[in-house]
Each structure stands twice: as structure tokens, then as C-alpha cells.
């Protein structure tokens, strides 16, 4: 009845193999709970597949945050005034903080943080593709803070209606902090858009370069995606890629046009009859090339994380308590 959960960190790999041995009664109770809108908590019975998919989802999200800290982190030392410098420090700090919250949420499912980081650094686990592109100029940081964070918010708001308690709780805090990011990003964009001709030009250039990665952000079109009925049933996946992409376009294309910027897709328009945005197919070959390791910054992103981990090893080794043993975090 009482106890704490001691899980060997690499047990996860074996669990997937037991997926056909699920107890049908327990599975029915589990699914009924989700249907009632109740949350699943770490100590509940759950199907192995649910645990496995959630770890993958939350872990990837965590990796995206820590990697996402890099393109903007680049510009902290070069920020052009106090307000921007402080805000950018706070924003990148938040990304690191989100990674911490998300690794903790994934840990409740039984995978250790070390195992997750190892999988990131070996290339086994993925992170959001958009961070494999370089932030070439200050204007890039404005576009990222506005539009990439906007995409992330849509994703996170959607997922915050999910079924797993710890992930939902982490997302609630993350969504709240992201709302500052969005305001900061938009403020930076507006300053550039209403600034000097050169500022406007660099902003337009940044948008031109980031548009296709943004169109890729929510993942491949629904017809190309793997069928995920179970994930929908279990409230792990709560909206389709296309649904979220449409939401993004609906919310942000008018705002982009309002600034007098052009979007590098002359075909982009809203169908008056269906209310859906029509756009040029954004080269999904590039998406797959980049996510499989051949983007402009893939090698650099992982090299930097390897460096950070290795560079900090002596610090962590120095203070590690002698008789420590691993206990899965609670919630």
C-alpha cells in the first residue's frame, strides 16, 4: 500500500513487447477514466503502449526546449538594449526551465533523465525540427520569439487538454510563461517592422527564411501521417497536424500582413467557402532530410549539448552524494 516507485531506468525498452498481454478489464477501466475526462496519474495502471508513447512525446518536447534555447541564446550577448537583453535572458532561461519541468514529467513514467539525455545525444530521440535552422540575425530572434513560440503555444494549449496529469500540469505553467514570450516576440517584430528601412528589410529576410520551417512545424499533412487512433482515444494526441497548422495560419497570417510584410508563398490565401487556408505544398522532402540529420544546424545543436553535458561532468561528479539511489519523481 505504501511505498515508492523504484524503476530500473532501462526497463522501458522491454515494456513495449508486452503490449498484447494487457489486462482487458484494467484497460477498460483505464479508457473509461479517460472518457470521463479524468487524469491518469503516475501510479495508475496504464497500458505499456500509453506509457511508451507518452514518454516519447514528453521527452521530445523536453529535448525541443533545451535545444530551442540555443538559436536565441546566441544573441543574448549582442542584444541591442537593456530591455531586450533582460527579456531574452529571461526567455532562454524559461526554455531551460521548461526542459526541466518536462524531463521531470517524463521521469514520473519511469525513464531517468540520464537515459533521456543519452538518447538525445546519440541521435536516437528527436526534437522539434525547427531548431535545426540558424538564427542568422537579430531579426531572426524576433521572428522566432513571435512565430515559433506562437506555434509552440498552439501545440501546448492543445496538449494541455491531454490525459496524463504530470504533463498537463507542466503544460499549464509552460503555457503561462510562453504568453510572455509571445508578447516579447511580437513587440520586437513590431519595432523592426516600424523601424528603419534596413530593420524592415532584415525582418522581411528573416521571415522569408523561416516561413518554410514554420509550415513544417506542425508535422506532415494528415494524409501522410501514421494513423494514431489509439493516441487519440487515450487523449495523447488531441488535434491533427493540419488542424493545428490551420489554427496557426488563421491566427497569424492576418497579423503578419497587417505589418506590411509579405509571406514568401504568393499562393497563400483563405478559401472563402471552406474558411481553410490554401498554401503551396512546403516541400516535405526537406522536412524529412532535416529531421533525419541533414539540416543546417543538426550537428551543431547536438555538439553543443554534448559539450555542455561533458563540460559540467566534473561539477556534477563533485557533489553527487555517495549513497544516492534512484527514486522516480512522484508527480
Amino acid at each position: 500500500m505504501y511505498g515508492n516507485l523504484v524503476v530500473r531506468p532501462d526497463d522501458i525498452e522491454n515494456w513495449g513487447k508486452k503490449v498484447h498481454e494487457e489486462d482487458p478489464e484494467k484497460l477498460a477501466e483505464f479508457e473509461a477514466r479517460i472518457d470521463r475526462g479524468e487524469k491518469i496519474e503516475p501510479h495508475d495502471w496504464m497500458p505499456f503502449e500509453y506509457r511508451r508513447q507518452l514518454i516519447r512525446l514528453i521527452e521530445q518536447h523536453a529535448h525541443s526546449e533545451i535545444i530551442g534555447a540555443l538559436p536565441e541564446g546566441t544573441w543574448i550577448t549582442r542584444a541591442p538594449n537593456f530591455r531586450r537583453k533582460l527579456a531574452l535572458m529571461a526567455k532562454v532561461q524559461d526554455e531551460v526551465g521548461h526542459a526541466q519541468l518536462l524531463y521531470s514529467a517524463a521521469e514520473t513514467l519511469g525513464k531517468s533523465r540520464e537515459a533521456m539525455i543519452n538518447d538525445l545525444l546519440s541521435g536516437k530521440s528527436k526534437y522539434s525540427n525547427i531548431f535545426n535552422y540558424p538564427a542568422k540575425t537579430w531579426a531572426d530572434t524576433a521572428i522566432i520569439a513571435w512565430l515559433v513560440d506562437a506555434g509552440a503555444i498552439i501545440n501546448q494549449t492543445t496538449n494541455s487538454k491531454g490525459s496524463y496529469g504530470p504533463y498537463v500540469r507542466a503544460l499549464e505553467r509552460i503555457c503561462w510563461e510562453e504568453s510572455f514570450h509571445l508578447k516579447y516576440g511580437y513587440d520586437s517584430v513590431v519595432h523592426l517592422a516600424t523601424g528603419t528601412p534596413r530593420q524592415r528589410a532584415t525582418l522581411q529576410d528573416a521571415l522569408n527564411r523561416w516561413w518554410r520551417p514554420l509550415m513544417h512545424f506542425f508535422g506532415p499533412p494528415d494524409q501522410q501521417s501514421i494513423h494514431t487512433e489509439k493516441l487519440v482515444r487515450w487523449k495523447v494526441k488531441l488535434a491533427t497536424n493540419d488542424e493545428m497548422r490551420q489554427q496557426f495560419l488563421d491566427m497569424y497570417v492576418p497579423k503578419i500582413w497587417e505589418l506590411g510584410l509579405t509571406i514568401p508563398d504568393p499562393f497563400l490565401h483563405k478559401d472563402p467557402d471552406t474558411g481553410k487556408w490554401i498554401y503551396t505544398d512546403p516541400d516535405w522532402e526537406e522536412f524529412w532530410r532535416v529531421i533525419n540529420g541533414n539540416g543546417p544546424c543538426n550537428k551543431e545543436r547536438l555538439a553543443v549539448r554534448r559539450f555542455a553535458e561533458e563540460n559540467g561532468r566534473w561539477v556534477r561528479d563533485a557533489l553527487r552524494p555517495k549513497n544516492a539511489h534512484y527514486v522516480t519523481p512522484l508527480a
Partner: protein, 254 residues
């Protein structure tokens, strides 16, 4: 008198400005997520403190904090060389020990400033003390633990100590016209602050084998003149990066 006040405030502000800047280079690259987050707060605090000091001058009709930070000539800065030093080799021992030596000086400085006859300074110093309390707690906890941990940690801290030692002592180089500032009651003599600083850090560093004799004059002399506008060899690259975007369009808003 205004010139003396400006010198005093710039010395305080410029120290915090570049200390915050150097700390901020670690954001996203820290030794573990939790410490990355904590150190990022310290970086923000120092940067914010700089802005608050400059604001005292702005309130007197002088330029804005952004202009003070982003639009000066190297020789017009009044920071100590300690804060100009790069994060050599991304060595966290250097980062932590510098933070320890610097924040000990801040603790002593701020406590003195709360008694300043110049009211804007004493009021600001009182406000800043709550954040500096955290900085000191963070710094001393880390150094006390690391200093008693592994052989590797100890060796790294010793090397960091040898590198940083003269720079830390040079924090207390007397300011230009300091006797006038002292008789006005704005600030105690730098020597007094240095002695209080030694009293604070020696009992912590000595038991963990990190204390040593004050630097010899020969080590200290090259670093003096910082408070009069003499910059370290590291300043040029530091400030070029600092102003890369702001200088690209000097009249623009960002």
C-alpha cells in the same frame, strides 16, 4: 561634484553590467539544468542592477541607461578588469569563483552604501540587498561544497583562484577623487571595503585550502587604472560583441 558622483555610480554600474553579461554567456550551457536556471537569474539581477544605477544619473538629467551602456568609448568605462575577463575555457570553476569573489565585494559595498549620505544611492542599495543576499547564499554554498568535494574540483578551484586573485583585489582600486567622496559621506574608503571583504571571504576560503596572501604589487599594478578608464586587453572583443546589433543602426529603436 557631479563628476565625482558620476564616477562613483559608473564604477558600480559598469561592474554589474559586465558581470551580468559574462554570467549570461552561460545561459543554456550550464553544468546541470537547475543550476543553469539559477545562474541565469543572477545574470539578470546584475544586469538590472546596472540599469538601476545608471537611472540615478538619468534622473539628474544625464543620458539614459541604454546610452550609458551601449554608447560609450572604452576609456569612459569605470569597471574593474575582473568583470571584463572572458569565461576562459568555459570553466565553471572560474565562473563560480569569480561570482563568489565579486558577490562578496557586492555584499560589503551594498551594506556600506545603505549608509550613504547620497540618498538615491542608499535607497537603491537597500532594495538591491535582497537579490544580493541570494547571490551570496548561492556563491558561498557552491564554493564551500566544491572546495570540500573531489580532488579535481579542488585543483580547478586552485587554478581559478590563481588566475582571478589579483583581479579580485583590484576591485578595490581607489576611485578617482575618492577622498572627496569619502568626506561627503557617499562611500567609505575602498581600503575599508577591501578589509571587510577579506574578513568575509578568508574564513570561508581558508578551511578549504583556497586562501592565499594578497597579490604582490607586481601582479596588481597592470590591473590598476581600471577605475580611471584603462581597459583590459579583453574589453575590445567584449564590447564589440556587446554593441554588435546596437551599433549596426545607432539611431534605431529595437
Amino acid at each position: 561634484m557631479l563628476e565625482n558622483l558620476q564616477t562613483l555610480i559608473l564604477a558600480l554600474a559598469d561592474d554589474d553590467l559586465f558581470m551580468g553579461h559574462r554570467h549570461a554567456e552561460w545561459i543554456g550551457l550550464g553544468p546541470i539544468l537547475e543550476e543553469d536556471i539559477a545562474f541565469a537569474s543572477i545574470a539578470q539581477d546584475e544586469t538590472g542592477h546596472a540599469q538601476a544605477y545608471y537611472q540615478i544619473l538619468t534622473d539628474l538629467g544625464l543620458p539614459s541607461p541604454d546610452e550609458w551602456a551601449f554608447r560609450r568609448q572604452p576609456q569612459d568605462f569605470r569597471c574593474a578588469h575582473l568583470v571584463e575577463l572572458p569565461n576562459f575555457d568555459y570553466d565553471y570553476a572560474i565562473a563560480l569563483l569569480r561570482h563568489f569573489l565579486y558577490d562578496a565585494a557586492e555584499k560589503v559595498r551594498l551594506q556600506a552604501l545603505t549608509q550613504s549620505t547620497y540618498e538615491p544611492l542608499s535607497l537603491l542599495a537597500r532594495r538591491l540587498q535582497s537579490e544580493e543576499k541570494y547571490h551570496w547564499l548561492h556563491a558561498r554554498t557552491w564554493i564551500e561544497r566544491l572546495g570540500r568535494s573531489t580532488e579535481e574540483a579542488h585543483q580547478r578551484l586552485l587554478a581559478a583562484r590563481d588566475l582571478l586573485w589579483p583581479y579580485a583585489w583590484a576591485l578595490f582600486e581607489p576611485l578617482p577623487n575618492e577622498p572627496e567622496m569619502v568626506s561627503a559621506g557617499w562611500v567609505p574608503p575602498s581600503q575599508t571595503l577591501r578589509e571587510e571583504w577579506v574578513t568575509l571571504i578568508q574564513p570561508i576560503l581558508e578551511p578549504i585550502g583556497l586562501w592565499k596572501e594578497p597579490p604582490a604589487p607586481a601582479e596588481l599594478t597592470p590591473l590598476l587604472g581600471a577605475r580611471h578608464g584603462h581597459r583590459s586587453p579583453y574589453f575590445e572583443q567584449l564590447y564589440a560583441e556587446f554593441t554588435e546589433v546596437s551599433a549596426s543602426e545607432p539611431e534605431a529603436d529595437w
